[in-house]
């Protein structure tokens, strides 16, 4: 199959591309760097030519509410229009668990808008909603740091390793379209502050985690269960310990 991976040079994208190439598919890793731009439309039509599956892993270069919304809407519209023209048979997109219940957060509104565009496009689709990646832990700790303390919420948290995400995405990309969503998550569930504390311990980071009980995420207030799957979800195989040891090997 010919598969185009939008955002194919990103964290998940490179892994997905590798997975799919490994499986013998013709894969285009699309990104502005490789001359395929979903915002300007550059190279899009050519990339879509004879493509069977499109995996959309593109992320906004800006985190500002309006910019994110503009990015996902423009990118989504252009991409889906090109897919329709080219007769693409499956559109796979990566979204976020709890996206529809965190609509007070600009980024979530933009991701929801992206999902809605896909649902309305008429192109067969699979939306994969993932929990946060284990790779985010350092960032979460950094942005919550005040002096030597890391103030973090006790919302429930079930991070998944990027490798697992990529494996799931690759799996769903070559499967039949669900025309619906599937949720994926890591194998372990924590309170957010716990897993961050664990990470800091492993990294020999001297910062101290202080649970504050405020259910905040990305600056917005959320429910305690917003970030974890509600019903059945596909769980990754890489737990924190395994992920940590993989990290060490790579380094």
């Amino acid at each position: 199959m010919k598969i185009v991976v939008i955002g194919g040079s990103g964290l998940i994208g490179t892994k997905v591309v590798a997975h799919l190439r490994q499986a013998g598919h013709q894969v285009i890793a699309a990104s502005p760097a490789t001359g395929i731009n979903t915002i300007t439309g550059d190279g899009l039509a050519e990339a879509m030519s004879d493509t069977d599956v499109v995996v959309d892993l593109a992320n906004s270069p800006s985190w500002e509410d309006q910019a994110v919304m503009d990015f996902f809407q423009t990118s989504g519209r252009n991409l889906l229009a090109a897919e329709i023209n080219a007769g693409v048979k499956h559109h796979v997109a990566l979204s976020i668990v709890g996206v529809d219940i965190m609509q007070n957060i600009g980024y979530m509104r933009a991701k929801k808008a992206q999902e809605d565009l896909i649902r309305q496009s008429g192109v067969p689709y699979t939306i994969i909603r993932s929990t946060q990646f284990l790779e985010f832990l350092k960032g979460i700790a950094d942005q919550a740091t005040d002096g030597n303390e890391v103030h973090l919420s006790d919302v429930r948290f079930q991070p998944i390793a990027a490798d697992d995400v990529a494996a799931f995405v690759a799996k769903y990309a070559v499967a039949a379209p669900l025309n619906g969503k599937v949720e994926i998550a890591g194998p372990e569930r924590f309170a957010m502050y716990e897993v961050v504390a664990q990470y800091l311990r492993h990294a020999n980071d001297p910062r101290k985690v202080v649970p504050n009980g405020k259910p905040l995420y990305y600056g917005g207030e959320i429910s305690h269960a917003a970030l974890v799957p509600v019903g059945q979800a596909e769980l990754g195989t890489i737990n924190f310990e395994k992920w940590w040891s993989n990290q060490l090997q790579k380094a």
Binding site: R21, V27, A30, A33, G41, D42, A47, N78, A81
Partner: protein, 875 residues
């Protein structure tokens, strides 16, 4: 490595020199390479310099494409290539080879240049096909060297040799040494090519911009677009579709379809109006980026718009569609027969086209407006020359047909009463298919309160009725409208200033608002002019009629500037006149014929406040009974046979003036009734007319009849009599005022002497005597005519004879008066009367004896006998 170690000292001097040479060549090459801007120059230069040091057959550079992990030839030395004539060559130099196979992975991994014997690797299952092709052309060995950029592999130098063991360590070292410079040069070339391409695009856009900026018409736009597209895609055709005014369809605007010459297809494409929301056009219009679509796929998708079928038969496989948009407004779509999308370039072109399109459309709009205005101007000058309804009709029909391609349905004007609306003008030919229905509606009376009319009259600029919707809502006119097959009805008020004067109704699919407004303003003025003109004609006619009266009256009536006579009887009359003149009271003037009733009436009028207007006289006796009503009250056109024009009655004519009804006793009974009503109501209706007209008329009636007796005899309506007999003035007969006979005689002598050109100096006393002795049944008029005749018969300047008619019939009144007396009494009073008139002259000319036709002596004896003394006749 082994060979380096084995170098013997004798050789080391040479190799030192060689090394020096290598170094020099490398540094020269390095200098050259960095200066190269053209990619062919680079590989040829590189190949030449290296060949001067080492042996090999040819070299190429391939580049890695990160997006799909392949590599593809970039720099080729065609001339040296031994596989140039290979069947696969054209294919090979464009091919992308996978990075995911052992041969190239080995090359990727190797930090040093790495050589392979083709024989060993070319038949591996995943090995690229160029290896075998080269082997078949005699190449034995390949040296692969990575080109790195920013720490990542960007491509490979492939060096081929047909001799085994060509790639010595020195060779490898040189290549390894030159590789970074080559990488830099390749990167430069890539950048350079990009810059060149961008520059070309920019100059292309600039040229296009210049071309398009000078274009003013659709044809010039098409020409410029064709020129620019030919540059980027020579064989392709294009079509620009424009969104039609209805905003629901699109039509081709400019195009170049080189793939068909079938006039039928071109015509079909040209004339078509494709619905915007056909599943494809709407997708293009909603997409911010150019869309490449496959014609077959779109047809399979179920899009039925005929252009896809035409494209298919013309052989178009893939088409790019780009919306033409200015700001937030879509103007149309550019469809291109092109395989490759250069988004920036196409969007640049399209934004220019959009602006040009908007400009041209604005231009066309202005042009259209100017044309419309020119038509309006023509219409205006047409209208300015219009004097009659027929002219106006011709002008209106012409302008509607010529400029708006429509026909007039109806113009209605508001009647003088401000309520009814009469048809003014219509075009029956519009309702050919519903003649009967139209005639029915035409006969139907319309007023300003009629619902559609009222809506139109109160609207600012008129209303548009959609016939289909009106049909649904049960509008009775809609069925008539429907027969025309048109979509809309335009109803507009006709106004002059702020005053509504009527409505105009037009049927059409679409009309320009500006035109409508302009035309309506002109038509309004024209209608107002015609109406004013008609009024003017009516006034003119009235004036002419008045003038006729005036002339007639000057001719026939005494010069009424003075009334002759100062006798006691007349003094009484004068007093009554002065009493009544200033009021509006109806005056009834009674008196025998010829006593000057009209003269008195005029004198009363002239002494009244109404004297500035002409007194209107009607002689009731002079008109046939069947015409008297029309004479008095006027009639509408066609109200009876022979009434070919509207006529204003005497009553209307006398509005704000005095109407003198002479011989009112002769009025037929029907006319009496009507007259009575007018007197009572002070308003009248024309014959055949529906509206009532208010009048302010002072009546003066005159008769020589005894109206009281007429009433008794049932010939005159008592109620009318009482209405007329408000202020009776009885004029004395001339008989009753003999003292005025002499001044009247002198007056008439003077008047007729002047008229006939005779100078009568004197009237003989005998004549005066004769005149005094006559009974004057015809009163003053008789006297006047007698004098006139006598003057004509007088030979010299003295009036010696008057020709008093003999056998004058005795007054009936006198007769009846006499009937009650004895013969002697009658004889006595009769003789006294005659003597009185003859001023006591008993015998001789003009004497009583002469009148009585008895001898003077006989009269003398009779006087004695009857005891008549001078006292009796000079009393």
């Amino acid at each position: 490595m082994k060979r380096v170690k084995d170098i013997d000292p004798g050789l080391s001097v040479r190799s030192l020199a060689a090394f020096e040479q290598e170094r020099r060549i490398l540094s020269d090459l390095g200098n050259d390479i960095t200066g190269v801007r053209d990619k062919n120059d680079l590989i040829i230069l590189f190949s030449k310099r290296i060949k001067s040091l080492f042996y090999f057959t040819h070299t190429i550079v391939t580049l890695i494409d990160a997006k799909d992990e392949t590599y593809t030839p970039f720099l080729l030395d065609h001339e040296s290539s031994p596989i140039r004539s290979h069947a696969q060559y054209p294919e090979l130099i464009k091919a992308h080879f996978s990075l995911n196979e052992p041969f190239i992975r080995a090359a990727l991994r190797a930090e040093e240049p790495i050589s392979f014997l083709l024989e060993d690797i070319m038949d591996q299952p995943q090995s690229p096909s160029f290896l075998r092709a080269n082997y078949e052309a005699g190449v034995k060995e390949i040296l692969m060297t990575r080109l790195m950029k920013e720490g990542k592999p960007m491509g490979f130098i492939h060096i081929y040799s047909d001799k085994p063991n060509s790639f010595s360590i020195e060779f490898r070292n040189v290549i390894k040494g030159i590789a970074p410079q080559l990488s830099g040069a390749v990167s430069n070339i890539i950048k350079n090519e990009e810059i060149l391409k961008k520059e070309q695009e920019k100059s292309l856009l600039l040229d296009f911009s210049n071309d398009i900026a000078t274009g003013r018409t659709k044809e010039e736009l098409a020409f410029a677009v064709r020129a620019v597209l030919k540059k980027i895609n020579p064989p392709g055709g294009f079509v620009i579709r424009r969104i039609n005014e209805d905003n629901t369809t699109m039509s081709p605007y400019a195009y170049d379809l080189t793939k068909t010459h079938d006039p039928k297809v071109i015509n079909a494409l040209e004339q078509a109006r494709y619905p915007i929301n056909d599943g494809l056009q709407d997708r293009v219009l909603n997409s911010a980026i150019p869309l490449l679509f496959n014609v077959d796929r779109e047809i399979q998708r179920g899009i039925t718009s005929s252009y896809l079928q035409h494209w298919k038969t013309m052989g178009f496989k893939e088409i790019v569609g780009i919306r033409l948009r200015n700001g937030e407004t879509n103007h149309g779509i550019l469809f291109l027969d092109i395989q490759e999308i250069n988004v920036q370039l196409l969007q640049g072109i399209c934004s220019q086209i959009s602006i040009a399109l908007a400009n041209i459309m604005a231009n066309e709009q202005i042009h259209k407006k100017q044309e419309e205005q020119a038509f309006l101007l023509d219409f205006s000058s047409d209208i300015a020359q219009v004097r009659t309804k027929a002219d106006l009709q011709a002008a209106i029909f012409r302008v509607l047909d010529k400029t708006m391609h429509t026909q007039l349905s109806m113009i209605r004007t508001i009647d003088e009463d401000g309520y009814n609306m009469s048809p003014f003008m219509y075009d029956e030919t519009l309702f050919e298919r519903a003649k009967k229905h139209f005639a029915e509606l035409l006969a139907h009376r319309v007023t300003v309160d009629e619902i559609y009319t009222a809506d139109v009259l109160t609207s600012e600029d008129g209303l548009v009725f959609n016939i289909e919707e009106e049909l649904k809502s049960g509008n009775s006119y809609a069925r008539l409208w429907e027969t025309t097959g048109l979509k809309n009805v335009y109803g507009l008020p006709l106004r002059v200033g702020n005053k509504n004067i009527g409505t105009i109704w037009l049927l059409a699919d679409r009309l320009s608002k500006l035109m409508l407004k302009g035309i309506c303003a002109q038509i309004s003025i024209a209608i107002a002019n015609i109406q004013a003109n008609e009024k003017l004609l009516a006034y003119k006619k009235q004036l002419e009629v008045e003038n006729d009266y005036l002339k007639e009256q000057i001719k026939t009536i005494y010069n009424f500037s003075e009334i002759i006579g100062n006798g006691q009887q007349m003094q009484k009359v004068y007093r009554l006149m002065s009493l009544v003149a200033g009021s509006n009271t109806t005056v009834l003037i009674l008196g025998e014929t010829g006593t000057g009733k009209e003269l008195i009436a005029r004198a009363i009028h002239n002494a009244s406040l109404r004297k500035d207007k002409l007194m209107v006289k009607v002689n009731c006796a002079a008109l046939p009974a069947n015409l008297i009503e029309s004479e008095l009250f006027g009639h509408e056109r066609g109200s009876f046979t022979g009434a070919i024009d509207r006529r204003i009655g005497k009553f209307e004519l006398a509005n704000n003036s005095t109407l003198f009804l002479d011989e009112v006793g002769e009025l037929p009974p029907e006319a009496q009734a009507k007259l009575l009503r007018v007197i009572q109501e002070r308003e009248l209706e024309r014959l055949g007319g529906k509206q009532t007209i208010k009048v302010d008329v002072r009546l003066i009636a005159a008769t020589n009849r005894n109206l009281e007796e007429e009433v008794k005899a049932g010939r005159f309506r008592a109620d009318l009599y009482f209405r007329l007999n408000v202020f009776p003035i009885s004029l004395p007969s001339l008989r009753e005022r003999p003292e005025d006979i002499e001044p009247l005689t002198h007056f008439f002598v003077k008047k007729y002497g002047r008229n006939t050109g005779r100078k009568i100096r004197k009237v003989a006393p005998k004549v005066i005597q004769q005149l005094l002795s006559y009974t004057w049944p015809g009163n003053v008029r008789e006297l006047e005519h007698l004098i006139e005749r006598s003057i004509l018969l007088t030979p010299d300047d003295i009036l010696r004879d008057v020709y008093i008619p003999e056998n004058t019939a005795t007054d009936k009144q006198d007769l009846t008066h006499l009937l009650n007396h004895s013969l002697e009494e009658v004889e006595r009073s009769y003789i006294i009367e005659i003597l009185r008139r003859c001023s006591g002259k008993i015998s001789g000319p003009g004497s009583a004896a002469e009148i009585l036709k008895i001898p003077g002596n006989t009269l003398h004896s009779k006087l004695k006998k009857l005891g008549i003394t001078k006292k009796d006749y000079f009393g």
